[in-house]
Symmetry: D3
Subunit: 299 residues, 6 copies
């Protein structure tokens, strides 16, 4: 094949790939001057939020009690700007054609959401402090609180989840899911932003954990790697499409421990203080205080 | 220890690490001016391919039907250049000593492979559209097609797999495996490029999924996180080395669902429409339409 | 909300987030001019170590036997500088208030640790060569030693583990755990740096593997994805805190194979040559040579 | 001084620097969400314009007559987006308080200016071709047209000037001056965007050349390094401020040559075909065809 | 030449270049762990200083009177850290062998210098405000104060000079000269940090201006491009080396104007209000109020 | 103008700019897979060369006599690779159509040139040491040899010139001119790579200096800023094109000093030890030992 043939083949492929019947289902058209939601920007946003929530652990600055306000001030302002932009991108991404001309309104809506979210940061920090404590208390290998904050994937995943859950609660579309998926990729822990999770929550190791959208988890719950809190099945509508918004994931009450690779499916309840052994498949309620484990292996 | 001692210890270690008997098995010698395959370049290549396949979802440009051809044109040309270079690097990496002086021939071979691959992109886009649809239809939590494309790890892993499978089919060495391992690292989903997978394929959550090199999967199949489609054992040759190229992974027929953490091993067949429950270990054929689940846990 | 209100709300949040009672448990104060341990620098350090250990596989240079010493020389020196800095950062991070003024002493200690670690590199390379061989011999899909080194996540995770284990052995705090967590994030394989692991060790696919801090593994052991070598429970002290430093993870003897998603818990012993089937939960000793598998699924 | 004192001194300086009476004259307040004009973005804009104007010289792509349209298409669209944003930033930067709420209007104005400018690019390319020819024809050291385009600072400075002049003509504030100052910094050639310059214009070497805002230059004019076309003096208004907008720089007619370090001051005319020797100071008209040089040096 | 020969020639050159007799005069040995002064870091330092001095003009943040303190706070702290490090690098660079072991002392000295410099910033800002006003008042082409700050090379050069002069005054070695050379490269204006310059100082266009180390300039002085304030000759010591520290550059009194390319040499005095025409060579005192210009050119 | 009109106007401009009659003179077509010469790569090359020539001054490594060879080794090898590539790019850039198919030959030629150049580095370092000494001895403001190497623009410009001159001497096209133009932009000193310059050469301050292609300069010559060594005029051929390759620039003999802004034009000789005053225009020979200065200014 000579160079000319190359050009010919390439332009031929370009033609095919540019025809509208080829890309129809997979095409997204942004309006002029509107940004797409950007994982890179969201990365920076999460990084900023961590820097604000855990002062002194990120960013290599030697802050002290007299200078901390400058740092928080600048970081909060930057967070406000970046978050407003990404929320705006999210609002544009999901709009329907009718609200074409309300760009300025949507931008104000985005700014309001960002302000609202930032107002929740003090509370969010308080809750994360309980999660850090739970991780430290629950792991004999943990040397210090600092090690837990800097190294433990569970803290990263739970932090992203709590940020995303807050954003979802105030009605921000798309962005929350992107934020939890970022943690999913980094840690292997997949928590849907819709789940409701109490304080002192921890996950050991964590790879493979899945927590579905309608899951409810109480306080002082501990999961190990590979635990699934999933849906068993879901009803379809008359078009064969899954019906959205039905409660289909488990309720885990306070003080439950679930060991590695256990699979808990459906809107069942794991009662307070129950202990679920590893590698088992649970599709029925477990009463409070009960311990269940896998049947013995055979030789 | 004073600074002079430091230098002495360091130069001593350098000497040891530079002796040929020290690095013998772990040394790779590229020829002058030949690049190594580069994960960073392959990242860009996959990014470019996604930009071409899903126009408007990546790259922050507001394309429309009049300008899309410019974007596809430039991206395809760039893809052609980068892919040619990486395929060439792959061909050089695996060469034996005999074909020392055929550099120009190999470069032409690389260019031909790249052209060929690009010619397959329209078809690849069509297949990926079926995967996106399967993911959307199969998840009540999915809000829109756009969310599926931007957030779902399964789409990323399957996209990389389909690209890699295509490259492997036309005889490109090394590069396909690097591309699927990139998705493995990003999503926790490990699909060997040699597997053959039908349309409307989807994986929910996905972390921990393993699909072996000789697996065959039909259409409309759905896997959950942690599912293994693996080999049970493999025969060794007279030198105790595993014999390459034997079919050793499962055949999954159309419309099968396999739940989380199920392990399916060996060249067995899971019949059409079968449902495999979570956390089980399957090493024998499952007839079509059958449902199997784990034995009940004990208290 | 008008812009002025925005500023008002933001400064209000900043005030709250800057109060010491708000951040108390989550605050870390570095001394003036002392760096925090940095994942980015540790990334570079691991990259450098890989470049030294596997000459010619990383860095795109066409080294040969006459020029290899220059490259090893420069890379070792750079490794020495960066590692000294990070070890120093680690030592500062965990210090107690008493040793305030011994900065110069700690820096010398860090340099000594770095020198010591570099002195171990030739041995480390030798051990890694056995791991590479085990991975190649154990996988019929492996095409070449080169492919194993460049693509296999197990090699990356084991390499990080062996580096981290060495650093932990000489008393470096924090840094070893950060290094294994980096591999955990990249590969889904979570090996605690405290574990003791023999030669010819390999892990297939790997996502979800967990190896606890007091685990002991012999030679020629092979794990599959999702295997947990964990603790069953741990005694608490009088304050309800877990007692640190107790042996609580399994001992795996030579030539053991453990299949995917098996969970081995507690200080039990899996005897030489035993084979553990997938998806099972093992909390008692397994005699040498024994094979155990999951009970059959029910339909 | 101990660390505490340091913090004390720093916070003291911060207080002083934050008081409004300290920064009054030197403070610029952007509105929320409005970008400042950015030299970095303007650099990219000029780079893009050069890539479009001189196809194949920049950007390392092997374009040919079949693929050039894709490249021009993408580059023009990108130029449109970046330029719109910078023009908008310029319009905001200079606004007075009255037009507070017309943000959307200004953005449309910016887009219109950008479109208008892009419409002028074909003509601009044509004029630059004459400048390139003049540089090549006028320098015995020039080896090829390509060398002139890639290496000659005059081409860079004139290119920036012609872009800036066009933008100034359509009423864009601030941005034109920033663009010529970028060339000034890069080449030492300072051409005010307000000057009017004919075709086939060239400057040899160029460092130190100054061409003032109301200068008029004909066709086929050549300057050497260090030439000043400046103002002699300027009338002040009743407040002692210079009166803006008065013609105060020279008129240089066609085919004039001015040698190095000559200084031509005031609204005088250098007649067609005149030759001005180096290092002289000219404040009166020079008739057409005349040659003037410095008085002989003394020993 | 075959590849082997290449390696041979290269290693031969490497040998020669590594011999101590080859590099003797051109070798600089830093101590272990000591940084060299870095132009890149100094660039950041100057950028930071400009951001602090001209709030709102750099950094794309929409600061207002309520948030300005956060920004100043963070920037001042960052400036303190970077400047301490660079001053320390400068102190190490020039040390003699005797003070080998006083690293900690020097670091404290560097920190003290940095604190001292930062304490001078409010005054420095005040002086720069007079320079900005002089540039604006003296140029009919200046549209606004903002344009002067953002675009005028004189402001950049004078700002760097005033920073460098301050650092030199408190005894910082090497760094001041590096800072003025950065402005020299950017603007073509070369002001030695040792010069003493009054308020309301401005330079029009500026390329080629040279102001020597012992120059003294009063208030309200204006220079044009290409003006040299230099030394005429300098006495040598008995070894033929120039004697350092002798006053050898001009004194320019208040309200002097010097036109383009004028050369003023030696410790002469240009009296108050004098006007020096362009392209002349002045080596004798000029009385106050006098105007001198070049002799008329000849035809 | 609505968005649709925008698209219409843009595509219209794109069409015009893509027509071959529009870009004809300004189009450069690289062959498939051939790189353009790249200023960015040449920057790295010059940086590398400086790192090799002045060991310890660049790159922040604490080299000593035992480790210097590793650094030189790696840097020389990297220089060889990058330089080969850029020389190859230069050779391709200037080729005529006849030698289409000799790509491999040209690459070998480039490698040979690079090897040859590297072989000259020891000598080049020796000559640069004389230039550094001349700068130090000639400037009372110079504090140390180190300051001269790190800060003086003359050293940067002369270093680039000596590199470029060497490359030009062995027949490398285009690249030498790009290298001297980089120094021109950085320092305002424009030395044509064709000029021949002796040892102990120095330029004070330097902005605006021009040294033409056929200039010959002896040893121990010193120039000040703004000095031009240029051509007076040049004969044209029958087509009105300047005749290439004629000696048209001055000969400056040993020990000459030329003060600021002097202009020396034509193939004249400035005799040994002559001193040329500033701001004068010299077009005739100056005998050895003579001093000439500008005529006195008039009031």
């Amino acid at each position: 094949m000579n160079p000319l043939d190359h050009t010919h083949h390439l332009t031929d492929s370009i033609d095919k790939l540019s025809r509208s019947e080829s890309y129809q289902e997979l095409f997204h058209q942004q309006r002029d001057g509107e940004l797409l939601p950007s994982s890179k920007e969201l990365d920076t946003i999460v990084e900023l939020a961590r820097t604000i929530l855990f002062p002194g652990y990120y960013g290599n600055s030697s802050i002290n009690s007299r200078t901390i306000e400058y740092h928080i001030g600048v970081n909060v302002e930057k967070l406000y700007e970046l978050l407003t932009e990404q929320i705006f991108a999210g609002l544009c991404f999901v709009r329907t054609h009718e609200d074409d001309d309300c760009r300025e309104i949507k931008r104000n809506e985005a700014a309001k959401h960002a302000i609202h979210f930032i107002g929740k940061l003090p509370e969010l920090r308080h809750t994360l402090a309980t999660d850090v404590k739970a991780a430290y208390d629950g792991d004999p290998a943990a040397v210090s609180i600092g090690e837990v904050i800097l190294c433990y994937p569970a803290i990263k995943a739970i932090c992203n989840y709590r940020i995303a859950h807050e954003l979802l609660s105030i009605g921000v579309p798309l962005i929350p899911r992107m934020i939890t998926e970022m943690a999913h990729s980094e840690t292997g822990i997949d928590i849907h932003p819709g789940a409701r999770i109490g304080k002192y929550f921890t996950i050991d190791h964590g790879t493979g954990v899945v927590i579905g959208a309608t899951t409810i988890i109480g306080h002082h719950v501990k999961l190990y790697q590979g635990v699934t809190l999933g849906a068993k099945s879901f009803p379809l509508d008359e078009n064969g499409q899954p019906i959205k918004g039905i409660d289909r994931h488990p309720i885990i009450e306070d003080n439950v421990i679930i060991y590695s690779n256990a699979t808990i499916l459906g809107r069942i309840t794991i009662g307070e203080g129950a202990v679920i052994g590893g590698n088992i498949w649970v599709t029925e309620d477990v009463p409070q205080g009960e311990r269940i484990v896998q049947r013995k292996a055979r030789k």
